[in-house]
């Protein structure tokens, strides 16, 4: 049974820092750039955006068709407590689905993918959503800071109308440590690179590729596209030379200079970039690496890829839609540079039953449409009587996430804990529903009445180290 990917999606955060900006502060050489997160983004918000794109690309009619969500990340916001709950709730997935978290390694995304494909093969699920999302914490001034970036990719796995099949996998592992982060560490650590490069990445990646070629009887030049895990610019080039891989083979999957080392998401994003251009019949080799283990994956591109191209938000389109920030702004995004002030208290904790009662409708944007007058009441947890006509019978509706600004303001003096200046937007969504939310990723000068906007989930604040999420408006990023 051919099992593989029926849809894919990427998400690259809008902010970019040129590595030379980092070099200006700490010395060293900086070529290329990293995609980095704002304060209000994390692996959850990126995972949701990539998943929405993957769902759209898959052509699946309804998210309810998804039987499993597997998430791979090396930087979950919580050591205990899964990130999948909020992702599933925002996407509107069923609750009787399989959920699994894969973590503690930059291989976590590939581990999730393998598990997803296996679950389809075992007949346990029909379609699975497999997500890799990562933004590992790098200490200011460290080697890793020069390299780490953020991003996410998502695959819908299944056995019908696949755009690429996973043909074979070969894994090589051992007891080796180059990068790690203990419970006591805030940032990822590394050890003597001259030693770890040779006996870590180089040895494990080489061994898994050789093992895969031997297992499949294929030669390296039979692969049109090859994507290596990319912890820096040099290691993939060295291994390519060693394996006699050409630059044509790695061209589409090379993302390090554009967005940095995206850890567990690297291969998902690299593969997506390949899928954007690959044609039916292409063989693709993807090779993961994470501190003492490497998987080599052999995929073949299938014909349905052609039909789905127009539903795809390409990697290149995300690259082109960017905004360069300086080093202080980058530190703010990481939470390293922040005001010594107590953020405005929420009134109720993010853990309050108040929030629990409303979470599904707040994340998914579910309204109660009055069966008498048609007005969409929101939030339904508080509206049992139509505020326009007094009727008490409703139909559940999901909001359109796109619309136009009806009116707005930009507040330059927000309470403590808020970003300032901050746009606050009242927009009419395409389905006629009026919604009010904060703005993000837009400069005060850009905001205008009638400007098209879209709603995306973001982190609003944290209280007692518990994050609060909600939808915010941004300019439509990719049409």
């Amino acid at each position: 049974m051919a099992v593989g990917i029926v849809g894919y999606g990427v998400y690259i955060p809008k902010s970019r820092i040129k590595r030379e900006e980092i070099a200006k502060v700490w010395g060293g050489r900086g070529k290329g750039e990293n995609a980095v997160l704002n304060e209000n983004e994390d692996i959850i918000t990126m995972a949701i955006e990539a998943s929405v794109n993957a769902m759209e690309h898959s052509g699946l009619a309804d998210v309810k068709e998804i039987d499993a969500i597997y998430l791979g990340t090396d930087s979950p916001p919580n050591i205990e407590h899964s990130s999948i709950g909020i992702i599933a709730q925002t996407l509107g997935a069923r609750q009787d689905i399989e959920v699994m978290d894969f973590t503690t390694s930059t291989r976590a995304g590939i581990a999730a993918l393998k598990a997803g494909v296996d679950a389809v093969k075992a007949g346990r699920i029909k379609y699975g959503l497999v997500i890799a999302s990562d933004y590992r914490p790098a200490s200011p001034g460290s080697n890793m800071e020069m390299f780490f970036g953020g991003g996410a990719g998502a695959f819908i796995v299944g056995d019908k109308d696949t755009i690429a099949d996973l043909e074979e996998v070969y894994t090589y592992s051992g007891n080796f440590r180059d990068n790690w982060r203990s419970l006591a560490d805030t940032y990822v650590k590394d050890y003597e690179p001259r030693f770890t490069r040779q006996y870590g990445y180089s040895e494990y990646v080489f061994s898994s590729v050789v093992g895969l070629l031997s297992k499949t009887g294929l030669a390296i030049d039979q692969f049109q596209h090859i994507v290596f895990q990319q912890p820096d610019a040099r290691l993939p080039m060295e291994i390519a030379r060693k394996l006699k891989v050409t630059s044509e083979q790695t061209e589409l999957g090379s993302i390090f200079n554009d967005i940095g080392d995206t850890g567990a998401a690297c291969l998902f994003i690299g593969l997506s970039s390949v899928f954007d251009r690959a044609v039916s019949g292409n063989r693709v080799l993807a090779v993961s690496y994470g501190s003492g283990a490497s998987d080599a994956l052999y995929l073949t591109v299938k014909e349905p890829i052609e039909k789905a191209r127009d539903r795809c938000k390409s990697y290149q389109s995300y690259l082109a839609n960017n905004s360069y920030i300086d080093y202080p702004r980058y530190l703010r995004g990481k939470g390293v540079l922040k005001k010594d002030e107590e953020p405005a208290s929420l009134g109720v904790s993010p853990l309050s039953p108040f929030m629990w009662r409303a979470s599904a409708e707040l994340y998914r944007l579910i309204g109660a449409k009055c069966l008498n007058c048609g007005y969409v009441n929101f939030p339904p947890s508080q509206r049992k009587i139509c505020i326009r006509c007094g009727n008490t019978e409703f139909k559940e509706v999901i909001f359109s996430r796109r619309g136009k600004i009806h009116t707005f303001c930009v507040n330059y003096y927000m309470p403590p804990g808020f970003e300032s200046p901050l746009p606050i937007i009242i927009a009419d969504l395409d389905d006629g529903v009026r919604h009010r939310a904060l703005g993000t990723e837009m400069s005060p000068e850009e905001v205008k009445i009638d400007m098209p906007v879209e709603l995306v989930l973001r982190k609003l604040t944290s209280e007692g180290n518990v994050d609060l999420y909600g939808n915010v408006f941004r300019q439509i990023r990719i049409k």
Partner: protein
């Protein structure tokens, strides 16, 4: 004729400002004494049978004045009934409205209504944090200016209202405030000054906004037929109204008017049996410059969309069609939430009696009299609008006509 079942026989306010040296209780005591000591024919506090205390943010100062006892327990009147009222920006005027209902019901002959607000016992950051509390997601970051500024944006978009016109409101109200001894600010500004002041919440600059002010104000009311015991120049309550709107901003249908104000005004005019053109003087809610422009329209002083022209043509000046905010308004006098509405009523009491010159003995009479409005029809209008989603408004119409 108007409703006229209740009369105001005395008012008292204190000098508004950043009263760092005064407890909330002291502000209350001073406003109360100022009221009872300036009743024309004298006043015995024992006549007060019930009281209402208006305070919008009791949590903003140390003693958390959240119950009726916070008034009567502090002015030696413990024993009589007293109710605490909180209703957003119209807290003071709604306290007054409720006191009027109490007296008009026939249960009480004489009542005290007192509004007080401590806005400066917490830091600006703490007050902003307090103001922004609400639904953690749907009202995230919602402070007063984030509700009013989008109205300005939309009003500019739909009617071509300009920032110059908005600035003119601030210029006028600051000019009036110079003549008010109780005003927080007493200096003139220019349109240029408004433009040069920092952008606070687009399109509103700092001088488009009212300040953070401590203050207190009191009024003594009684059954209209008993007013003669206290004064020969009572001011009657000709009518009042209170309007509400939806709770959340996303539920609002219209961002160029305050529906609550329109509803409150309609009730008040109808109760008083008069029309907007009959109003000689108005104290209206100018928390932001745009608010006053929209008020002109909502209160019927001009047509929808013409509020900008109304200020530009000087129609709300002291000698205009209707003098609006002779006291300097919230913008110059200040906006201590619970006190604001009652202070507006105090100003109208003096204006309609044409004794602004005296102003309970506050200030220099020769300066005070410069803000005296010429009273023709004998009607004054008080207005507040605010609360979550700008969802409530109180309008009170006062008259000297028996």
């Amino acid at each position: 004729m108007g409703w006229n079942k209740v009369a105001i026989v005395g008012v008292g306010i204190i000098k508004f400002g950043e009263l760092f040296d005064k407890d909330w209780e002291v502000m209350v005591e001073e406003a109360y004494l100022n009221a009872i000591n300036h009743v024309d024919k004298g006043f015995n506090p024992k006549d007060i049978q019930a009281a209402w205390i208006a305070d919008c943010r009791p949590g903003a100062h140390g003693t958390q004045t959240i119950a009726g006892v916070s008034l009567v327990g502090n002015i030696g009147l413990a024993g009589i009934p007293c109710t605490h009222i909180e209703n957003g920006c119209p807290t003071g005027s709604d306290g007054f409205r409720n006191a009027c209902l109490g007296v008009a019901s026939g249960v009480y002959d004489v009542a005290l209504v007192l509004g007080a607000e401590k806005m400066r016992d917490k830091s600006t950051a703490e007050m902003l944090s307090l103001a922004s509390q609400g639904h953690p997601v749907l009202q995230r970051g919602e402070t007063a200016m984030t509700m009013f500024a989008p109205q300005a944006m939309r009003h500019m978009h739909e009617f071509g209202t300009t920032k110059e016109q908005m600035a003119m409101v601030a210029v006028k109200n600051h000019r009036n405030g110079v003549y008010d001894p109780y005003s927080h600010y007493r200096y003139e500004i220019t349109v240029e000054d408004v433009f040069k002041s920092p952008m606070v919440c687009s399109p509103l600059n700092l001088l488009d906004c009212c300040p953070q002010t401590d203050g207190a104000a009191a009024a003594i009311i009684c059954r209209a037929d008993l007013a003669g015991k206290y004064t020969d120049k009572p001011i009657y309550v000709a009518g009042f109204g209170m309007g509400t709107d939806v709770f959340y901003v996303h539920e609002k249908e219209n961002f160029t008017e305050f529906v609550a104000s329109v509803r409150a005004a309609k009730q008040a005019y109808s109760m008083a049996g008069i029309e907007p053109k009959d109003i000689d003087v108005a104290e209206v809610h100018d928390c932001f410059s745009i608010t006053e422009i929209i008020n002109y329209e909502d209160l019927g002083f001009c047509k929808k969309g013409e509020g900008g022209k109304f200020i530009e043509q000087g129609k709300s000046d002291l000698d205009g069609e209707v003098a609006v905010n002779p006291s300097g308004g919230l913008m110059s006098k200040g906006h201590p939430l619970g006190a604001t509405g009652i202070a507006q009523i105090a100003e109208l009491f003096w204006q309609l009696r044409e004794d602004v010159r005296d102003s309970n003995g506050g200030g220099d009479p020769s300066v005070n009299e410069k803000r005296q409005v010429k009273i023709k029809n004998g009607y004054g209008l008080q207005h507040n609008v605010g609360g979550r989603g700008i969802s409530n408004s109180v309008v009170t119409i006062l008259t000297r006509n028996k």
